[in-house]
């Protein structure tokens, strides 16, 4: 397919349609509304279901209903919408039906603003709903990667019968980049053997997240956890840049990782042996790969567009084996490569001590007493 210049939100929508999306339900919210608008235009052209719901609460429950029929279904929103969808996400996870959710993250908390952010990391990665389950979470750093991950997200959701998030910070949703879209896939004809469709010529089926007997609910929880364990074994994704001889490792996902890559290249030109580790799957998190890096690196620098939410997972992965610093911008601010470059220079010239608290040092720097 030829490359086209496309806005991230539009490209993600078109990628989902080409992945065989059968139904989309959503609610307008900046900075993802172009995704909904593209669906409004294209889904009816394809004879598929599009509906603008009355709220994110309704949208996710429409997704839940359609998912119960075995249809490929998705929604998209931003942080405040994820908060409202938390209920439905938990029901979808508890019922073990597949669905894809795109979160185009904006500044928060509260109403925040509409500038790019990675503030939903903790909310999305650590559950996005009550009860015991893990969603699978993928984070692109370019429009092309967003397109590629959307295509995979449906297959992964169906394989593990779970919720798959694609978390793009607002800049991925809003910027235009050249992108190669995949060939359209045909709609699936067969339905999974758990789907509801009307009990014609077979016993009636029920899809529920209600298990009144604790011993049964425990078995369901264990089954969900078992499937998550398989996802942990199979679905870890990350990208490595200049790591072969790196003494210092910058870690960042999405746009923060992309900005950090420019800084890493500039630092390399200055002779600093630094590389970049960019997690693509935020859940399952690449714990082992980071643990391996921690054993051979002199120091880590975690860069995020939040207050150090992924930092805590990196610390858990590193198990204290490498000293660490953190640099973050918040509230819709995007770090410039020069800011990250300066942090890399300092890291190399004056490495952190093993007991240094990365967040405390950063906070003291950002907001002196």
């Amino acid at each position: 397919m030829p490359r086209e210049l496309m806005k991230g939100n539009v490209a993600m929508a078109e990628a989902a349609i080409r992945a065989g999306l059968e139904a989309y339900f959503g609610y307008p919210i900046t900075p993802q509304s172009e995704l909904l608008e593209h669906m409004a235009k294209r889904m009816p052209e394809e004879g598929r279901a599009f509906l603008q719901a009355e709220s994110e609460v309704a949208a996710i429950n429409m997704v839940y209903g359609a998912a119960c029929t075995g249809a490929r279904v998705m929604t998209s929103t931003s942080g405040p919408g994820i908060s409202l969808m938390a209920e439905g996400i938990s029901y979808i996870a508890g019922t073990e039906v597949p669905a894809v959710i795109v979160d185009v993250m904006r500044g928060g908390p509260g109403l925040g603003n509409i500038a790019p952010s990675q503030g939903d990391y903790r909310q999305v990665i650590h559950g996005a709903g009550h009860g015991d389950f893990f969603p699978i979470v993928l984070a692109p750093a370019s429009v092309q990667e967003a397109v590629d991950l959307i295509g995979e997200a449906f297959d992964i959701a169906e394989k593990y019968r779970t919720v798959v998030f694609v978390v793009a910070d607002g800049s991925i949703g809003q910027m235009m980049e050249p992108v190669e879209l995949p060939e359209p896939r045909p709609l699936r004809r067969e339905r999974p053997d758990w789907a509801v469709s009307g009990a014609a010529g077979r016993p009636h089926r029920t899809l529920t997240s209600l298990y009144l007997k604790p011993e049964v609910e425990e078995r369901i929880n264990l089954r969900i956890l078992k499937r998550w364990q398989e996802a942990e074994a199979n679905e870890v994704r990350y990208r490595e840049y200049y790591l072969d001889d790196a003494e210092f490792v910058v870690l960042g996902f999405g746009t923060a990782g992309r900005v950090a890559l420019s800084a890493v290249r500039a630092a390399r030109e200055e002779g600093i042996r630094v590389g970049l580790f960019r997690p693509v799957s935020l859940r399952p998190f690449p714990y082992q790969a980071i643990r391996d890096l921690a054993q051979r690196a002199k120091a880590f620098l975690v860069v995020e567009m939040n207050g150090g939410q992924m930092l805590e997972d990196v610390q858990a992965a590193a198990q204290g084996q490498v000293p660490m610093r953190f640099y973050g911008r918040m509230g819709g601010m995007v770090p410039f490569p020069d800011e990250v470059l300066e942090e890399i220079r300092t890291l190399a010239a004056d490495p952190p001590t093993p007991t240094e608290n990365p967040r405390a040092r950063w906070l003291a720097h950002m907001m002196p007493a």
Partner: protein, 264 residues
């Protein structure tokens, strides 16, 4: 002239009444004197009579009917509290030739699910809604509902519902009948056999509305909750007649012209 012998059972008895195919053999958990069982049976009879059992998908609510999918012998799903109309919408939009219905109580439909039911009606969503109004929260143990009558004692209005601080009962049929997308909105009662027969006809028409693609359809059924009202089953039936019917007048609030001509 010879007359065909009536069908005989193995005990040489004539079968005149049986469980509809659309109900399972599972015993229900409903309290003695509760009208959920009656409402379930009416829905099942209508599905049988219209030949819809194999096309039907039911959405159970959160409330006393939370396990309805175990009692209906049809495909079913269990919604989050109040979200059944949204879930039904998701199902109906991808399977438009199936018959999709929600079965919801007053807390589910008129309190936490108010937005979902209003917008489903506003969109003219081609679903059927069975709305059980018993003026109380049953499953959680008898708290005040949006339909609780003024001065009615519940566990969360222990001195009786004080309209000055706790507001007035909400009449859903009257509200939903205002929606252009609604094809059929009526209120019936289950407190005596005559009203039960009328309720069944209404349920039939509410499914006819969907099958004919006319729009949103809802039957509100005034129902009993003897356990949480603190009454015997007979007292509860009488309380519906004497207190609920005056507050929630029975009648046809919206009937599409295509349904007015229909004889069922």
């Amino acid at each position: 002239m010879t007359v065909a012998a009536p069908p005989k059972t193995k005990h040489n008895l004539k079968l005149i009444y049986q469980k509809p195919e659309s109900l399972t053999d599972s015993p229900t958990h409903y309290c003695p004197g509760c009208t959920h069982g009656v409402a379930h049976r009416l829905v099942a009879e209508v599905l049988d009579e219209m030949g819809l059992r194999e096309k039907a998908i039911g959405i159970a609510p959160v409330g006393c009917a939370v396990l309805a999918y175990e009692y209906f012998n049809i495909d079913g799903v269990e919604a989050a509290h109040g979200r059944a109309p949204a879930m039904a919408t998701g199902i109906k939009r991808v399977l438009p030739d199936r018959v999709v219905f929600t079965y919801q109580g007053d807390g589910d439909l008129a309190s936490i699910g108010m937005a979902e039911i209003l917008h489903a009606a506003g969109r003219g969503e081609r679903i059927t809604v069975i709305f059980i109004n018993n003026a109380i929260y049953g499953m959680t143990g008898g708290q005040m509902a949006p339909t609780t009558l003024p001065e009615q004692v519940t566990t969360s209005s222990p001195r009786g519902r004080d309209v000055a601080t706790q507001g007035f009962p909400i009449r859903m049929s009257e509200i939903l009948a205002q929606m252009d997308g609604a094809a059929y909105v009526v209120r019936r009662s289950l407190h005596d056999p005559n009203n039960i027969r009328k309720a069944k006809k209404a349920i039939r028409l509410a499914f006819e509305a969907q099958v004919r693609g006319l729009g949103f359809a809802m039957v509100e059924l005034l129902s009993t909750c003897p356990t949480n009202w603190g009454m015997t089953p007979i007292e509860a039936m009488n309380w519906v007649r004497d207190h609920m019917v005056p507050a929630f007048p029975l009648g046809d609030y919206k009937v599409a012209p295509e349904l007015q001509k229909l004889r069922v």
